[in-house]
């Protein structure tokens, strides 16, 4: 298909091929197999490492997830309480201790590393040790903090010992930890963990095996045909770094790449008009908001002179037409956010009452709080303090910039002055982490389990050990989040989540703006099944290209593959 598309070189190609005596690069093969095909995925950036404890971005995660295995995988409902919904992966079964303080995982007896070695419990123990050693620079270490140790009573059993009982302890043990081959991680200097060969030549147990990484160009995976879970449906997958967004979409539309995500609003429209491309969407576990600083930037012990007042924050929320903001900026690839967690993680979203859009109500609320307009000023003031807030906007995000401009206009209607300050991300993070801001166009990538609520919005997350840079503090919210994360009774947990969410919605420490949907462009040759919200890559081993839709790229090199 590629050769057909490029018409500029056919004559030259013929001449050169004749001179060099080269034949075609396809070999006779059985094209009618259900398994087969090659997929090229355009990545927004090149991975820095493929060592599981060190991966941080989606493009690294996508590769690690299909090369390595967890002990068990989270179910489609994203439940994190107990082991309900989890499906066995590298562990074939597990046994809870009577006091729930340990879980013994029995490993799949037929599981082999891609280099042929047998998977043993020593691999699990070694992996845990690498993840949790602070010298290893793993960002997941804190997520494994409730696990005390891993013991190995026999080569097929790995027992996780926990510090305390928790509804999420099973999730903690399996979701944040990929099992790595201990025999390839012997005598490793943990301070130099990133430089081990495994970081650039991963050896896992997943249904795809790593083949090669040509820096800056491509990472190649092939189906592991002897995998204990069965081979992947595709023969090959290439991950091609394409940092320029426009170039990545051109690759998609010209068939040079088969998959690219996420599309933006403009490229989505083009994708919908391109017959060779289909659009698939899945909800991203991510929300964007205008976060307020509730503490005085000059003296964190005092409330913020403007935003410390809950009436002001609620009024600003009421004055914001969030539906219009989302439609204008995101159109169909976003929905109005409910609160500090995406819908996919909320058990009863319909029970939550958002702050309504009501401009007159916002004006009345500000009037009653003493923020009044003077005849000579279009900006409200109280006691000599003007209703003026500075909004920090990351200069790299066009969508956030567009939203900020709309907010500036909408809040002006109720007498609030919004000053936009566009900053490079490092400069922005420096200011927010020190509390030197009024508000900022923020966002959070969340994960199943709602632990993010505690990590970002609880009182204990204020200061250097958490991400509560705005200083929001509510004992009601804290108590309900604690209950939600520690209750073993699902009904009690759900009620606590609802109460916590309603509390923080009413306190308005932010204007909850948008939950993004991730639209992906995919070649219409591919049948991907379902794209789960935990990441499109989860289903990659089951993507299929029916024989009738295969092209030259799918057939290239057959006979040598596998």
């Amino acid at each position: 298909m590629i050769a057909q598309r490029r018409v500029f070189f056919p004559v030259l190609l013929t001449i050169v091929c004749t001179l060099l005596g080269c034949g075609g690069d396809t070999a006779p093969s059985d094209d009618q197999r259900a398994e087969g095909g090659t997929v090229v995925i355009a990545l927004a950036a090149e991975p820095a490492t493929l060592l599981p404890p060190l991966v941080g971005s989606d493009h690294e995660q996508a590769i690690v997830e299909v090369v390595y295995d967890r002990l068990a995988d989270i179910g489609p409902a994203l439940g994190t309480v107990g082991d309900a919904g989890f499906t066995p992966r590298l562990a074939s079964a597990w046994q809870w201790a009577a006091d729930s303080m340990s879980i013994a995982f029995t490993l799949q007896p037929s599981a082999r590393w891609h280099d042929g070695a047998i998977v043993t419990s020593a691999d699990v123990r070694r992996s845990f040790a690498l993840y949790t050693d602070p010298r290893a620079e793993s960002r997941n270490a804190q997520l494994l903090a409730n696990i005390d140790s891993v013991s190995t009573p026999d080569p097929q059993t790995a027992t996780f010992w926990f510090k305390r009982r928790s509804p999420q302890q099973f999730y903690d043990a399996v979701h944040h930890l990929f099992v790595m081959p201990a025999h390839l991680l012997v005598n490793v200097d943990l301070a130099q963990l990133a430089t081990v060969p495994l970081a650039r030549s991963p050896v896992g147990t997943g249904r795809f095996a790593f083949v090669g990484w040509t820096s800056g160009q491509r990472i190649e995976l092939r189906s592991d045909t002897s995998n204990y879970r069965g081979r992947a449906m595709l023969d090959r997958v290439y991950f091609v770094p394409t940092p320029d967004f426009g170039a990545a979409t051109v690759k998609l539309f010209t068939g040079e790449a088969d998959f690219f995500t996420p599309l933006n609003r403009e490229s989505l429209e083009q994708a919908l008009r391109t017959p060779s491309v289909r659009v698939w969407s899945y909800p991203a576990l991510r929300y964007l908001h205008l976060a307020f600083n509730l503490r005085d930037p000059a003296n964190r012990a005092r409330p913020h002179p403007v935003l410390g007042d809950v009436a002001v924050r609620r009024a600003l929320s009421m004055a914001t037409n969030r539906e219009r903001v989302v439609r204008t900026v995101f159109d169909s690839i976003g929905s109005v956010a409910i609160g500090p967690a995406p819908r996919a993680l909320l058990p009863d979203e319909s029970l939550l009452r958002p702050i309504p859009y009501d401009v007159d109500g916002a004006r009345a609320l500000l009037d009653s709080a003493g923020w009044v307009l003077s005849p000579t000023d279009s900006v409200r003031s109280r006691g000599g303090v003007r209703l003026r807030i500075e909004v920090l906007v990351p200069s790299v995000s066009l969508n956030r910039d567009r939203m900020a401009v709309l907010l500036q206009d909408q809040l002006r209607m109720v007498g609030a002055e919004v000053v936009l300050q566009r900053l490079e991300p490092n400069a922005l993070v420096k200011r927010t982490s020190k509390g030197e801001f009024d508000s900022w166009m923020g966002g959070w990538n969340t994960s199943p389990g709602l632990v993010g609520l505690r990590q970002v919005w609880s009182t204990r997350a204020i200061g250097g050990e958490g991400d509560n840079t705005g200083g929001y503090s509510s004992s009601t919210f804290d108590a309900n989040v604690d209950t939600a994360l520690t209750a073993f009774d699902p009904i009690v947990a759900r009620r606590a989540v609802n109460r916590a969410m309603q509390t923080i919605i009413d306190d308005a420490p932010a204007i909850w703006l948008v939950e993004e949907v991730s639209p992906s462009g995919m070649s219409s040759r591919i049948d991907p099944g379902v794209l789960p919200s935990t990441g499109w890559w989860h289903g990659l081993p089951d993507w299929r290209i029916p024989p009738s839709r295969r092209n030259d790229r799918d057939r290239a090199g057959l006979g040598t593959a596998n």
Partner: protein, 328 residues
């Protein structure tokens, strides 16, 4: 005979020392300025959950970032002198390994672009200089003026839109196709050329226009020189006169060679990004954003060395072309 040689040697040594000084100054400035900018390699990412301050402090200590700036500088200088350029926190690899991969790609692109710019720019400019103010000269001048004023990134996007998306003549990005390893040697060669074509052309176009403009005006000046007039008056044929005039016109144009080096390096940043050409320019920009201190500093060493070398080569060529500079 001995005296001029000594002078030349001392001049070369002097210029080399000057180049070393330039590289050191640029590197030191990069070292200090980057650390003065907000953030560091372990600053929280924009939307990701952060790790506790205590853990981050440990990571900084492992990389020596908790030391006072002068101590960091001395350590870095000592390591650099031993050939150890440090560790890239962004790529999680030694800086040397990163540069070893990305530098040749940039050199290939820049080398080809520089060669094309010089050859085509000189030929076009010389042709224009001998036909100044004719219709052909005016057309070419207009075209080169347009090409000269186009930003590289815009030109690159235009190329992408036209030759890739609309005409489908070339692949969009990268150095080779994903399935390169499965191709026959002939196809591999073509694949490389196809991928090289647009970035090469984009970078060369601006350089060619630049050279052509200077070569043209230099050629016009040379054409009016007394010795050229004399040669024409003595009945020397057209080609011979043009050769005399061209040699005279070379001196100011050669100076451009040294200036084009950093200009091309700057342009390569955008071209490399748009065409996903994994070279040094784009890598450096990413490293600045990620506060990858040691990679940026090493890239500055390479960039400033290339610029200094370009200047040295230009000086040498100038002396070859103009005997008067040798005498002085």
């Amino acid at each position: 005979m001995a005296q001029p040689r000594q002078t030349l040697l001392s001049r070369v040594v002097g210029r080399l020392l000057q180049a070393v000084l330039v590289v050191w100054a640029a590197t030191t400035a990069a070292f200090v300025l980057l650390r003065a900018a907000p953030g560091d390699p372990y600053t929280t990412s924009l939307d990701g959950f952060s790790v506790p301050d205590s853990t981050r402090a440990l990571w900084r200590a492992q990389r020596g970032l908790d030391q006072p700036l002068p101590t960091q500088y001395v350590l870095w200088l000592r390591n650099a002198a031993r050939g150890n350029l440090g560790y890239s926190t962004m790529y999680k690899r030694p800086v040397f390994d990163v540069l070893r991969e990305v530098l040749p790609r940039t050199l290939l692109l820049m080398g080809l672009a520089l060669g094309t710019s010089i050859l085509c720019g000189m030929a076009i400019g010389a042709w224009q200089g001998t036909r100044a103010d004719t219709t052909g000269d005016q057309w070419v001048s207009t075209f080169s003026m347009i090409a000269y004023s186009l930003p590289e990134f815009w030109l690159a996007l235009l190329m992408l839109q036209l030759f890739v998306q609309s005409l489908g003549w070339f692949p969009a990005t990268g150095i080779v196709d994903a399935t390169y390893d499965l191709m026959s040697p002939g196809r591999q060669l073509l694949d490389r050329l196809e991928h090289l074509a647009l970035p090469w052309f984009t970078l060369s176009l601006v350089g060619t226009a630049w050279f052509a403009r200077f070569q043209r005006s230099s050629m016009i000046d040379a054409w009016r020189q007394p010795h050229v007039r004399t040669a024409r008056a003595k009945g020397l044929a057209g080609r011979g006169v043009r050769r005399h005039a061209w040699r005279t016109s070379l001196v100011p144009v050669i100076t451009l060679f040294g200036l084009l080096f950093p200009a091309l390096l700057g342009g390569a940043v955008f071209v490399e990004r748009v065409f996903s050409w994994p070279g040094m320019g784009y890598t450096t920009i990413l490293a600045v954003g990620a506060r990858d201190y040691e990679l940026v500093t090493a890239a500055v060493i390479v960039g400033s060395t290339m610029t200094a070398l370009g200047s040295l080569i230009a000086d040498g060529l100038q002396q070859l072309a103009d005997p008067r500079t040798r005498a002085s």
